[in-house]
Each structure stands twice: as C-alpha cells, then as structure tokens.
C-alpha cells in the first residue's frame, strides 16, 4: 500500500468538503465513503506486506527528506486507528450528522493520526501530532454542549508544553547527530553520551507519554473522557492513544535506552494501571469509569511492552481499542446522550437491548472473561511476563484485573438489572449503527474463540518491531 | 438363637431400666427423708399409661414417638450386656452414639409437632444442652479410641480384663469423670434437667403427652438410661463376663448418679453450655492429649 494515500486522501477530502454543496447528508456520506476506502485500503494492504518499505516525499533522498515507512507494525496500527474511526463514523450515523466543519476536522484528524503512525521522521511526527491535537481540540469545542471548556484548555496547555519539550529534544538531537530521520538516528544514536541520551530520549518521549495517557502525564485525560461526547472519546481512546503508543514503542526499538529508563517507565506504567483501575472502581458515571479504564488500559499496554510481552501487548491493543470504542459508542446510544451514572442506567437493557449486548461484550472483553477477545490477549501477556520473571508486576497486574473485572461486571449488572421498571418504551438506535456495533461485538467474541487471525497480524507486527535492521535497511537502503 | 438373645436383651433393657427408675424414685425419696413409692411403681405406671386413652396431634406426633422408642431399642441391641452380645461384634461406638440421636430426633419432632410452645422451648433446651455435654464425652472417647485402636465397645471392655486395676476408671481417671458428668446430661438428671424443668416450662417436651405416648416415652427413657450406663460400664468398668454382675455394676453407677443429682440444683440453660465447655471439655481435651501423647499405661 502506498502510505501517501492514507494521508493525502483524508486531507483532500477535508478541503473538498468546503467545495461540495452544503448538505449534511452529503457530507456524512462523503466522509463515510472516504473512511471506508482508507480502511479497506489499509487492511487490504496489511496482508501483502512482505518487508518494510520506505517512501521518500517530495523527491528528496531519504535521510534528508521526509519519508513514510510502511511495515507490518505501522500497518497494524493504521488498521487499528482506521477501524476505530470507521466504527465511530458508522455508529454515529443517523444520530449525529456531520456538518461541514466537523467533517473537515475529522478528516484532518484522520490524516494526522495516520501520518503520526506512518512517518519516519521525528519532526514530521511533531507536525502530525500538532495537527491531530489542534483538530481534536477544535472538535472538542465544536459543539456547545460538550463538556468542560476548562478541561480542554488545560489539555491544550499541557499539550503545548509537552510539544515544546519535544521540540527542545529535537533541537538537541539535531545538534548532536545532525539528523532527524528515525532510521538514520538509530545508526547515529551512539554518538550521544549516555547521560544526555537519556535526557534527550525522555524529552522525545514526553508528548508521546501524554498522548498515550501514562501517569503522571494523564492527569488531563479523565475529565476529557467524562465530559465529552462519544465521538471524541472514541477518537481519543481508539486513535490518539494507540498512535502515541506506536510512536513510543518505535522509539524504544530504534533508540537504545538505559535499563533505569526502562524500569522507571515500567513503574510508571504499573502506576498508571493501578491508579486507573482503582479510581475507575469508585466512579459512578459510566463515561468517567470508561475513561479511567482507558487510562489503565494504556498502562497495561506499556507495562506489557516493557516487560517482554510485546506480542501480547499488540494483540491487547487491538482488543482494547475495539472494545473501548464499542463501549463508548454503546453508552452514548444507550443513554441517548443523557445521564450515565450507574443508578440511572439500571434496567436500560429493556430500552435498547442491542446496545446493552454490545456494551456487555466490550466490557467482558476488557475485563478478560473467557470466550471474549481480551481474555486471549491478557493470557499471552501474562504468560510472556511470567516467562520474563516479572513475578511481582504480574501479581499487580492480576490485582488490577480483579478490580477491573469487578467494576465492569458491576456496570453490566446495572444495565441488565431486572429489578427496575424503566420508563418509556424501546428506543432503538439507527439500524445501521446497531448493525455495525453488533458486528463489532460479534467480532470481539469471534476473536475470543478464534484469535489466530488477529494474533498472526500482531505477531508479524512484533517481528517488524524487533527487526530494526530491516527497518533501517529499508529507509537507508536507497543511499 | 440370635432372636432369643435379642429378645433377652430387649426384655432386660426394659425391665431393668424400669427397675432403675423405681430405684431412682426410692433413693431420691430416702434422701429427702420421704418414704417413697415402691420399687415396682414404674411398672404399674407404664401398664396404666398404656391402658388409658390418649390425645394425638397428628401423624408426625405418632411417628416421632415410634422413632424414639424404635431407635432406642435398635441401639440396645448393639451394646454388650455381660455375655449377651447380640450384635456387639459390630457394636461400633460411633454408630451407637449416632443411633441414639435418631431416638432424640424422633422425640424432638414429635414434641414440637404438638404445637405447644413449651415443648418447642424444651426441645431447644435439650438440643442446647446436648451441644454442651456431648462434646467432652466424644473428646474423651476420641482419646480412648486412639489409644486402643478400636472403636468397638466390646473391644474396649475386653482390653481391661485381668484385675480391677486394669479398669479404664483407673487408667483413664480424668476421662472417666468427664464421661460420668456427661452421663447426667444424657439421662437428664439434675443439674442437667433444663429441658424438663417442670417448674419453668411445664415438663417441656413432655407437656402434651398422655396415655400410650407417655408410656412409650417412659420406656424409651428407661432404655436410654440403661444403654448409657451400660456403655460406661463396658468402657470404664471393664464390662463383665457375668450377666448379673454386669447389672450390678449398672445399678451401682446409677445409684451414685441418683445420689449426687438428688442434692444438686438445676443449671440455667446457658449455664449448662458454659459449664460443659469450660471444665469437662477442658479436662476432656487434657485427657485426650495425654492419651494421644502417651497412650494407655
């Protein structure tokens, strides 16, 4: 697949939307088609990637110009983000018509996230990160009803701060090595002395940790999750966080870092997980609970990635993203945008049984119940972590899983409570959204029973990640 | 042959049990400086009860009484009485103890089904009290069974042969005392007569019985006392090879019990439990620790 399309087509669409007639249904249809196309294109491309490929932009030879890299890893992540995006678009179809601005913003956002994943250049990564953030902020504030503006403001300030740190990091890297190309940098990384390497590395990591919602840089996240509508939260949980995670593990594999750095990040990941789960236990609002749970999920992923369970982490990322997106959307449709505290959710399955089922399958997948996708990935993570002799961290992970299982079953129990009479009749959501979400839920169960297909992808992605030589060769090979 | 022996055992149990009850009335009377009824008074009473009309409160009321009497008769057959050893070859102590529980259950069921709250309270008290006295009893027996590697009553009687000093009474003195105290509870003697307590709850479980019901329960009571003391005699007093000698031992133990109980007041119901769990249980555990640690000398 040609990565240029993945960025260019959405961007083009964003501009085209202003040229097209001002019809909401037309806009919606247009962006839906584009999302569908990019998704199909990326997924189809995923299955015929033999080795990693680099595409130089603008006719520059690779270490000097910007390049995009497609290998199994980046393609895997593009697939995840594309699926999240597609699900969001479809699920909100009929309930939330895209107007011109939001459609354009969403398309820009999609292009930026794809760019974040596909790029092979540090500065280009920064640019895409900023575009993604700006379009996300704009989306967050587009609708008057959406949550706390102050939370958004805080998020923006933090984001700007973290980006500045990243820029300083870039300055330092460039001064020391004279390159910003990731592959080239990985060759020249040894030039930097160890102490400065750690500093620079952490500086580069800062905005990625912020995007990937790792403690203490995730303090902004729960409020955004709790206060925003489903569209935004799914974009956050299903796209921004995975993209940040991708950039992080890419840097980890390309740039060697000290054991202390890895260990402290591991501890941060564990802290993220534990804090997220324990706080989620106390939240009464379902969206906030899901928000904290997403944060905790990112902690789990980073923890697994740093303790030799990369394959499981990638598989789990897929499951988490899918389940989270599905849950956020089904909560939105279940409550019809209304109150979402546990008490008021009692017995809502009578109102919208399909969405209740979808929520339950997402919840059980994240909680790691057998027969659901999340169980298989957790199993692999556990097994690999144990093999790497991380006994204590595994125990903490297990503890977090208990807490997680508890609050998810509690939420599902409330939704399926038969002890409450619910006012009003059935309020089914749009048939298309129902159908798509049901398909996603069934896919979750299917993956739980036959995980081989997704696991094979995760395995290939993991191979691509560890094979730094091939990555570097594909980028610099043309020299 | 077995059938004849069984009949002999049952008749012995009934006759001697009723005789013991007569002895009890006489002894208590003498202690209280009364003249007392004749020793055969109980025979007269039972015969009279069976000939009188009676009141029933339903099917379970009848069946419970039959269960009570039947269970006791069955238990009796497992206990060796001198040389009369009908089924005592398989006379496992645990089986005997639990068979007696069938009788108690039957009686409790029947009494509660009378619908009288006094009966319920009485049964509750009986069960509570049983919770108290059975534990020390069983703990001592546990030590004995461990030490002798047998749970057969006959087996325990046989190992004590050869002189009075071989009796478990002297080899296991603390245990003997504990079991002796527990026997007051089993036979419902003062201070362990809270379930009956005529002054408080109008004879408790017995309150609704009349005629043949009361007759059957009197028989049962007589048999329970006989079985109980027979076990004690077998386990602690070396049993007996002679039928009459055995009965004599039973009579002696019973008389001692009656004499003691006739001068002791009644416990309150929770006092029974606290007392039993405090001293007898303590000594029972001590005894079984000694038995487990050192065996029998």
């Amino acid at each position: 697949m040609n990565p240029t399309f993945m960025i260019a087509i959405p961007l083009l669409t964003a501009f085209l939307l202003f040229v097209l007639p001002k019809r909401r249904w037309l806009n919606t249809l247009f962006i839906t088609l584009v999302a569908l196309f990019t998704s199909v294109y990326s997924i189809a491309g995923l299955f015929n990637i033999e080795k990693s490929m680099s595409f130089g932009m603008g006719g520059w030879p690779t270490p000097f110009g910007i390049n995009l890299v497609v290998d199994n890893l980046s393609a895997f992540f593009v697939m995840v983000t594309q699926l999240s995006f597609l699900l969001t678009i479809f699920a909100l179809f009929g309930w939330y018509r895209a107007e011109r601005y939001s459609g354009a913003l969403m398309m820009t956002f999609l292009a930026a996230v794809n760019g974040m994943i596909l790029t092979g250049d540090l500065f280009n990564l920064f640019v895409f990160m900023e575009i993604a953030s700006v379009s996300l902020f704009a989306l967050l504030n587009l609708r008057e009803s959406s949550g706390s503006l102050k939370a958004t403001f805080n998020y923006m300030v933090l984001n700007a701060l973290a980006s500045s740190v990243y820029l300083i990091g870039i300055a330092l890297v460039y001064r020391a090595t004279g390159t910003l190309n990731m592959a080239d940098l990985s060759q020249k990384w040894g030039v930097i002395s160890e102490a400065s390497a750690t500093t620079v590395f952490l500086m580069l990591l800062t905005p990625l940790l912020l995007k990937a919602e790792i403690f203490p840089l995730n303090l902004w996240a729960p409020r955004i999750y709790g206060r925003s509508s489903a569209g935004i939260t799914t974009l956050l949980a299903g796209m921004v966080a995975p993209a940040g995670f991708y950039a992080m593990i890419r840097l980890f594999s390309l740039l060697s870092s000290s054991g202390t750095t890895q260990n402290s990040l591991l501890i941060l990941a564990v802290l993220t997980m534990v804090i997220g789960e324990v706080v989620a236990l106390t939240r009464k609002s379902l969206r906030e609970m899901l928000g904290f749970s997403s944060v905790a999920g990112m902690g789990v992923l980073l923890m697994a990635a740093l303790s030799n369970a990369m394959e499981g982490a990638l598989f789990h990322l897929f499951n988490l993203a899918l389940a989270k997106v599905v849950m956020f959307l089904s909560v939105e449709l279940l409550t019809a945008g209304g109150r979402d505290d546990l008490e008021s959710l009692k017995g809502t399955y009578k109102r919208n049984p399909a969405m209740a089922f979808v929520f339950a399958s997402g919840a059980f997948s994240v909680a790691g119940l057998p027969l659901f996708a999340g169980f298989r990935s957790k199993l692999i993570i556990l097994s690999d972590m144990m093999k790497a002799e991380h006994y204590i961290i595994t125990a903490v992970f297990i503890f977090a899983s208990i807490v997680e299982f508890f609050y998810y079953t509690r939420a599902v129990q409330h939704i399926f409570s038969s002890n409450e009479e619910i006012a009003g009749g059935r309020q089914c959501s749009h048939p298309l959204s129902t159908l798509v979400l049901l398909a996603a839920a069934i896919f979750i169960i299917f993956t739980g029973i036959y995980p081989e297909s997704v696991m094979a992808l995760a395995e290939k992605a993991q191979m691509a990640l560890t094979d730094v030589g091939a990555y570097v060769a594909s980028v610099l090979g043309g020299m | 042959m077995k059938i004849l022996e069984s009949a002999a055992v049952i008749i012995t149990g009934i006759v001697f049990g009723l005789f013991l009850l007569g002895v009890q009335r006489k002894l208590v009377a003498r202690v209280q400086r009364r003249y007392g009824p004749p020793i055969w008074q109980q025979f007269i009473d039972v015969a009279k009860l069976f000939s009188k009309s009676s009141i029933s409160h339903g099917f379970v009321f009848d069946m419970g009484v039959m269960m009570a009497l039947g269970g006791t008769i069955a238990t009796l057959l497992f206990v060796p009485i001198g040389k009369l050893q009908v089924l005592s070859m398989s006379g496992d102590f645990i089986v005997v103890v639990y068979l007696m529980a069938v009788a108690s259950l039957g009686m409790a069921m029947s009494a509660v089904n009378s619908g009288n709250p006094n009966a319920s309270i009485g049964v509750m008290r009986a069960l509570t009290q049983m919770f108290g006295y059975e534990l020390p009893y069983l703990m001592v027996m546990m030590g004995m069974m461990f030490a002798y590697r047998t749970s057969s009553i006959l087996g325990m009687a046989q190992v004590q042969q050869g002189g009075i000093l071989n009796w478990n009474l002297f080899r296991v003195p603390i245990g003997a005392i504990v079991v002796f105290i527990s026997m007051f509870g089993i036979s419902g003697k003062k201070p362990f007569d809270t379930p009956i307590a005529p002054a408080e709850i109008a004879s408790g479980p017995m309150v609704e019985y009349s005629g043949k019901f009361l007759g059957s329960l009197t028989l049962m009571h007589a048999l329970v006392i006989f079985v109980d003391i027979s076990i004690f005699v077998n386990v602690f007093l070396g049993g007996a090879s002679n039928y009459w000698f055995f009965l004599l031992k039973v009579l002696a133990v019973f008389s001692l019990m009656v004499l003691i109980s006739s001068v002791i007041p009644r416990f309150r119901v929770e006092q029974v439990v606290t007392f039993s769990w405090k001293w007898p249980l303590f000594f029972a555990v001590i005894q079984s620790v000694i038995l487990v640690a050192m065996g029998v000398r």
Binding site: V127, V157, L167 | -
Partner: protein
C-alpha cells in the same frame, strides 16, 4: 553556550514560570507564547554558525561557512503550528469567558464537578 541559546533558555524559563504562577487565562496564553518563542530561538540557534552564510541562491562552491538551513525550515513550521494553537486557545478562552463570565482558571464557576 552562545547568547542565542542563553536567551532561548531564559525565555523558556519565563514562559514556564508564567504558566505556573498565573491564573488568568490570557496571561497563561501569553506565557505559552513566550515559551514557544524560546523554543524556536533554540531551534534556530542550532543551525547558527558565526559569520555563516545562508545557502540560498549562492553557488555551492562559494559557501565556506554555511548556516544549516534545516532548523530554519523547522522553525517556520513550528511557528505556523504555534500560531494555530494560539488562535484556537484564544477562541476557547473567549468561549470560557462567555460561559462562565470569568477568566480565572481556579474559580469553579460554571463547572459541574
């Protein structure tokens, strides 16, 4: 350490201090801009070499002491992005003011905690 680097670090420090000490939203925005300015100067200062010549429209053989052009390109992009962010944030501040009637970050008015 040359003057440019020093200046940029000073600006960054001022910006960070401003962000942490100010409660007023616009003051925070200004601090952020100062911070970004500092970072941009830092970026430019990387490519700086004393008496250097910018390699624009100069034949390659005449360049003895060239200035690295890449940081300058980067800074251009960064400035554009910074402008975009600043504009968006000002819009949000205006919106906050409209809704809550205050520009104080620490006040809880209009918040549904």
């Amino acid at each position: 350490m040359n003057l440019y680097t020093f200046t940029s670090l000073l600006l960054i420090a001022i910006g960070v201090y401003g962000l942490l000490s100010q409660r007023h939203l616009f003051k925070m925005l200004v601090s952020l801009s100062v911070l970004e300015l500092g970072v941009n100067i830092l970026l430019v200062s990387i490519g700086y070499s004393k008496d250097g010549v910018a390699p624009i429209l100069t034949p390659p053989e005449q360049i003895i002491n060239p200035v690295d052009p890449l940081p300058q390109a980067l800074v251009l992009t960064a400035i554009v992005i910074g402008v975009g962010t600043t504009a968006l944030m000002s819009a949000i501040i205006v919106k906050i003011y409209k809704r809550t009637g205050t520009l104080d970050l620490s006040s809880n008015r209009g918040e549904d905690e």
